[in-house]
């Protein structure tokens, strides 16, 4: 009985995913302007970034305020590699992923000893220092005026200059990221991450090497941030240090929390929602932020598990009634 319920819920889940994917594939047919496609581009990039943040925050329970710093490093690394050495896009992307992964790994070393709010403040300071360094390394980054004219992705001679092909490229990466994080979650590594989040000492005596797992979690989330950064640089074609500030950290945090931390669908929905919503509500921009802040507050108080948790609860109730 239990097994059939499980199998059926799995089937529904798979079906929902296929439907979503089909919608995502057909979306460019509906989106008329490059402006609308541009929003879709951003949503896809932030899905990757939020998924990586969720690995750290939602799975492993580590609150970093410096994640945007890694995103920035990814963006600048890729842009500089491609623009100043003429390397192909894929090399820039790879370079960004490797460098951010390495830096994530470095951040993890002190993070093993520094806990709770101290870790949050350390990462906040690191993120700001990264931004200051980018701003003052004029010769490489053009300082606060930013880097412009970053070329669009070009893979084996095929240029993703047009908005629609670029959309499919980003969709491809986002789907890869979703699959990766989903497989991670149901693997022994994902379980180890979550056990650290829920009861660190319990995890240790269960044989989880908490140090190694925290490092891995930091590195994975950093690699995803690096990839997202690279894609951002080559999609927007302009980056500046001001963009990668603490305001963006807040937005990222809200994406994961409103969507539902510790889940795969949560950051996807959260990122899409928080990119599309302000654009849709552009005419009330100032009011939007007022409502947005209160919504964050309401979410953590009233829906601690985010939209994903709310959805699960509603489904359960529906099943009980049926």
């Amino acid at each position: 009985m239990v097994d059939t319920v499980r199998a059926r819920s799995r089937l529904y889940k798979a079906l929902a995913l296929v439907v979503l994917l089909v919608i995502a594939i057909l979306l460019p047919l509906v989106l008329k302007s490059n402006y609308q496609l541009g929003i879709a581009h951003q949503a896809l990039i932030f899905i990757i970034l939020a998924l990586g943040y969720d690995v750290l925050l939602g799975f492993t329970g580590l609150l970093s305020f410096g994640h945007i710093g890694l995103f920035a490093i990814g963006a600048y690394t890729s842009a500089i590699l491609v623009m100043s050495t003429g390397a192909p896009f894929l090399v820039g992307l790879l370079g960004a992923a490797v460098l951010t992964g390495f830096i994530g790994f470095l951040i993890a070393i002190p993070a093993l000893r520094i806990k709770g709010h101290y870790l949050t403040l350390l990462t906040l300071a690191l993120g700001e220092v990264i931004r200051l360094v980018i701003r003052s390394a004029d010769s490489l980054t053009h300082g606060s005026s930013g880097l412009s004219g970053i070329p669009r992705p070009d893979i084996f001679g095929y240029s993703f200059r047009q908005a629609t092909p670029l959309y499919y490229l980003l969709l491809f990466f986002a789907v890869l990221a979703i699959l990766f994080v989903w497989r991670l979650k149901i693997s022994r590594f994902g379980r180890a991450f979550m056990s650290i989040r829920d009861a660190e000492i319990g995890a240790e005596v269960c044989g989880v090497n908490t140090s190694a797992m925290k490092m891995m979690s930091f590195a994975i989330s950093a690699v995803l941030a690096g990839i997202a950064g690279s894609l951002y640089a080559h999609t927007m074609r302009f980056i500046s240090p001001e963009f990668f500030g603490l305001g963006l950290t807040t937005t990222l945090l809200a994406m994961v929390l409103i969507g539902g931390r510790g889940t795969v669908v949560g950051p996807v929905v959260g990122a899409a929602l928080l990119i599309v919503l302000p654009e849709a509500l552009r005419f009330v921009k100032d009011y939007y932020l007022i409502v947005f802040g209160i919504a964050i507050w309401l979410c953590v108080i009233g829906m601690p598990d985010g939209l994903a948790g709310l959805g699960r609860r509603l489904l359960k109730r529906a099943r009980l009634i049926a």
Partner: protein, 258 residues
């Protein structure tokens, strides 16, 4: 023949207070050992040292000829020492089945990429671990909650979940910290029966427990602590009649122990 676990002269100091003071005892294969003593006598500290949660300030712990002293908890778990907690350390955000699977971590070998890409080895390992987790949950009688959240379990069932999780690492020594706290009389009796089946399957057990009725009826041997020191060791009958133990519990006839 050397013992399964040898604890030699172990000490632990917190600030100025000596919580465990030169305690030694041995545990044989398939034995059930009770660790008793009044509040603050150092039992929990002892268990924390054995499981690696605390580093000891002196002495050695030797398991099957291998010195465990100074190893981190996860290495001690791999060596075959598993434990439960008095104030439960359940992974609340994971299903009951996943909780038990975490207990198997130290027996799993698949790599990150093997797991993500679903290599044949990783898939087989995952499947086998799942089956083992299910059979362990069946043994403690909560298999039907495999996909439920731990919060839907009763307090007693959560204790059993921790036992199943500890057993998932295939330990040779299982350490239970106050397994009866919060259990009804009936549940405690069921637990005693279950612990005896573990003994029958060759697992040695160390139990810390305040419920003396439970301890006396279950264990083969008792080590009694007071003020961090071992004050008596022997079978349950001799412990119950031991003057020092009675004094430690009831405050009668105090000798110069401290």
């Amino acid at each position: 023949m050397s013992a399964l676990l040898e604890v030699n002269n172990v000490s632990k100091v917190f600030g100025g207070l000596t919580a465990v003071d030169g305690v030694s005892f041995t545990l044989e294969e398939g034995q059930i050992l009770g660790l008793v003593g009044p509040n603050g006598s150092g039992k929990s500290t002892m268990l924390n040292i054995l499981s690696g949660v605390y580093a000891s300030d002196g002495g050695t712990v030797v398991h099957r000829g291998r010195t465990l002293t100074g190893l981190p908890p996860n290495a001690i778990a791999s060596a075959g020492l598993a434990r439960t907690f008095q104030n439960l350390q359940i992974f609340q955000g994971m299903s009951v089945g996943q909780n038990v699977l975490v207990g198997r971590t130290c027996r799993m070998r698949s790599t990150l990429f093997g797991s993500i890409l679903g290599s044949p080895f990783a898939r087989r390992e995952e499947r086998e671990s799942r089956e083992r987790a299910r059979s362990l949950l069946e043994r403690v009688g909560i298999a039907r909650y495999m996909d439920a959240e731990p919060s839907s379990l009763s307090y007693g069932q959560r204790r059993l979940l921790e036992v199943a999780r500890a057993l998932a690492s295939e330990p040779s020594v299982l350490m239970l910290d106050e397994p009866c706290a919060g259990l009804s009389q009936g549940e405690a009796e069921e637990l005693a029966v279950f612990i005896r089946t573990l003994k029958a399957s060759g697992i040695a057990v160390i139990v810390i427990e305040h419920n003396m009725r439970f301890v006396m009826g279950l264990v083969d041997r008792i080590v009694a602590l007071n003020f961090g020191r071992k004050i008596a060791e022997g079978d349950p009958r001799s412990i119950r009649e031991n003057e020092d133990v009675i004094a430690a519990y009831l405050g009668r006839k105090r000798h110069a122990h401290h």
